[in-house]
Assembly symmetry: D2
Homo-oligomer: 275 residues x 4
């Protein structure tokens, strides 16, 4: 069973925590712990055997930890997710396949697309697909419709699997630290439209992808994982895009695995990830 | 023997080139060729056996290639370089060691530092070290002194091995496409002072280094090679800097090897690199 | 249009080839060429514009190349493949997804499994699945049945996507240099049963996957591509296997892309791969 | 201050340890902990603030830990090492440079070579070089001479920086789990003489290096770290060797850093590495 703890740092926290666990007759199989000394924050993820009463364990931990501690004993092992997409299939098909074979670590409740292109793929895997077009309506209305489709599932995470609309702070506030996005990254970074074209023109030798939580705007927010792939002058623009997609699929898959296994903690604008 | 060719693209260029080589009784051992179709540019690097007269070969090639072709038959196999440094030793010591064991592909004629810190290291390898301080003088005067030290060596390349002064367009124009710089790179990019601090605060999971030709300003210019290294939340700022240095050393070493072996072509703001 | 050439090396081959192409009024957009000097073998892959008569081009090239040259002008751009599987889904689902979205560079004609586990996945994508069990029959009979299912499709390639039976030289000879296999690789290598268990017990820090042509036995043969992923002591045996699968999927996908785009040449027990 | 602990696993160990630390008024800044459930082994590395009495802390921990626990409070932060070499300079020069700039995390007391080739490099850095030739003597005598040179320094680690003689179990037993070796690794592995030649003939696409403790024979033993570098058909045998050297230098540097910072634990034939 997993226990995750995030709180203000204090002298003796590990002793305090492990005493509670030992007293309950449980054994710590593995423990990852990190203190951000400057930020005075404590993070721990434990795998513990023989917990018979999760609720009691949580209460006992909260009783001895600093005020405002966040403790989660035995978080839902299989998460419930909603996936938002536009037209590109690479991330979604990877998610649906893993979902089908029960290796995703989550159950896909629904896919919502602002284009109908990926409805057929969802059908093949018997996953509901909802079309919520952004056309001919205000952003506010569009997002209200999205929320209306998503919220009833009470998802643990909303996955933006190449969802190409920028979401407003209002939308984001409905799912705080529950929205994971994947986007391309470059060295150097390229601002503005058509970043692959810019990267191509600049002759970059590496292209990357960053999976992150969405906080204020679409492409910022605490980074969960990053991957890169080497490229060279023989890559056409189309080749760059293709290499970028492989990278995006792989980075998003990794980020989901880490999040679904409760290995990711967020604070300030950064993460602690116990890989 | 190496032949490098860069010219406007035309139908039949490879035939034209290889006919000249075959007529001279020479054999092409390996050939790398690239056409940038949009830019209409042709690039080739050939390794050719049995060239007896390099000058004649060059003339014969120029005679049949499009106007303004750049042809170099048997470029100087061991380059002559000057290295500019400030205080950090990691790139310079790698260069001096390879130079000492004759595996650099270049001979270090001189090291110029704007601080005296690395004089001692150069002494150990019997390489002249010249101190050109930037203190108490105008940038123009500083750069004139640099040029006065560097120019007499007629270097094939000027290597900025963690040289921490920004060079003016005037300086750069004295060594066109001969200056190679190494600098840290991040995903995302961080503008302004102390990028490692910014990367640390943002919790990046990858740090990179980019080796590039210096054209207009210090950190832009055609990219030769890029390397990355994965990092995580357990890296202190100091650890990030250390990992960055390993990366910089490695990326600069690779870029120098590629340049010294005449594997790099520059056009527009990008490169063709025949690795 | 692509042209691939493999023949004995001779002086002036590039001139010879490019003269034929220029004479036909065609332009070489890109050319990759390699000579193995020791083996005296020449390899080239060209992308050529404006070929109007492929058959004539092929004849014209054969007429001037050394005896026994292999020339292929405009090889089938979309290959036809048969996929062999056992129980593991990771490679097959990646193949079927790419096939569905027409980004595989090949068309999957049929999937043959020696277990029924993956029939359902094939159904979802409307790809024929044939069960050929190895139970209760001789290896010879088993392979005859496999051949009977595969041969009618006249596949360009037979992909072993985690097919867990060792194939005999007789079977392999029916599809010479057309069978591509993926298998795990370790540093160091582990002989015998349960290599992941051995790797786990040995505490390896890297696990790899190798995609290769099958020549004599299942896990040897000319290497097309290799990928690795870093692992550490916190990986359970199950985690190692999972990381290995991601790696296998990725390496096989890359190898198929290279083969389907006619970028791979085989000679002796090795390959030339023009990535 | 660092504390490392290795002992039999028991219920409540983390509580026990952290209680001792808290009772001494010390704070745990970071803690890495691992339990090998199958082997019933517990490993921890803690960074602790405000330890005033290291000896008392060690005694207090030993008093509450299972029998035969290994506890090291405040291990020597700068190790003392002896380096063994033959003719290749790449690893040694990296070590000497880091040593010179005090970033190695260890002090090089002496370099011992069985060839005189690297004496000059050591002189430049004012490090004693001892020549112990293996010629015209028995292996036993050779190793006795090596031991006679090494033992007086009481080194924390003996680094085999491309030392090309196989050491006997007798020699190894004199420095148990203190000898670190670097050697090339390949996928697949190649047994016997000239592995780079074999890898070249096999057309491998990746070459690797493994840094490991030496236990029974030269190229086996618990792995500390592994690195790889991609290669391709255009690499000559010489290029492969060069790429391999870069890799070896980098892998050995990493392994030394991990060992010198007390991040590596050994048990059975494997390691726990808290990177």
């Amino acid at each position: 069973m997993v226990i995750v703890i995030h709180c203000k740092d204090e002298v003796g926290l590990v002793a305090t925590i492990s005493a509670v666990i030992a007293k309950a007759g449980c054994n710590i199989v593995s423990m990852r712990e990190h203190v951000d000394v400057e930020a005075n924050q404590f993070f721990a993820r434990l795998v513990v055997e023989n917990i018979t009463d999760s609720v009691a364990m949580e209460q006992n931990l909260l009783a001895v930890l600093p005020a405002n501690a966040v403790v989660n004993v035995n978080p839902q092992p299989e998460k419930n997710i909603v996936v938002l997409v536009t037209k590109e299939y690479h991330c979604l098909s990877d998610i649906l396949t893993r979902n089908h074979f029960k290796t995703l670590g989550a159950q896909v409740s629904c896919v919502v697309g602002n284009h109908p292109d990926l409805a057929n793929l969802c059908e093949r895997f018997h996953i509901p697909f909802k079309l919520v077009s952004h056309l001919d309506k205000s952003k506010e209305d569009f997002e209200q419709e999205l929320i209306a489709e998503i919220a009833p599932y009470k998802p643990d995470y909303v996955i933006l699997a190449k969802f190409m609309r920028i979401l407003s702070p209002n939308f984001i506030s409905k799912f705080p630290l529950k929205i994971i996005n994947i986007h391309h990254s470059f060295l150097p970074a390229f601002i503005g439209a058509n970043p692959y074209k810019q990267a191509y023109l600049r002759g970059v030798k590496i292209i990357g992808a960053t999976a992150h939580f969405v906080t204020n705007d679409l492409d910022e927010g605490p980074i969960i994982t990053q991957k890169i792939t080497p490229v060279n002058h023989s890559f056409s623009l189309k080749d760059l895009v293709r290499a970028g997609r492989e990278n995006e699929t792989s980075a998003l898959a990794k980020a989901m695995q880490l999040a679904f296994e409760d290995r990711v903690f967020v604070y300030d604008n950064k993460t602690v990830v116990f890989e």
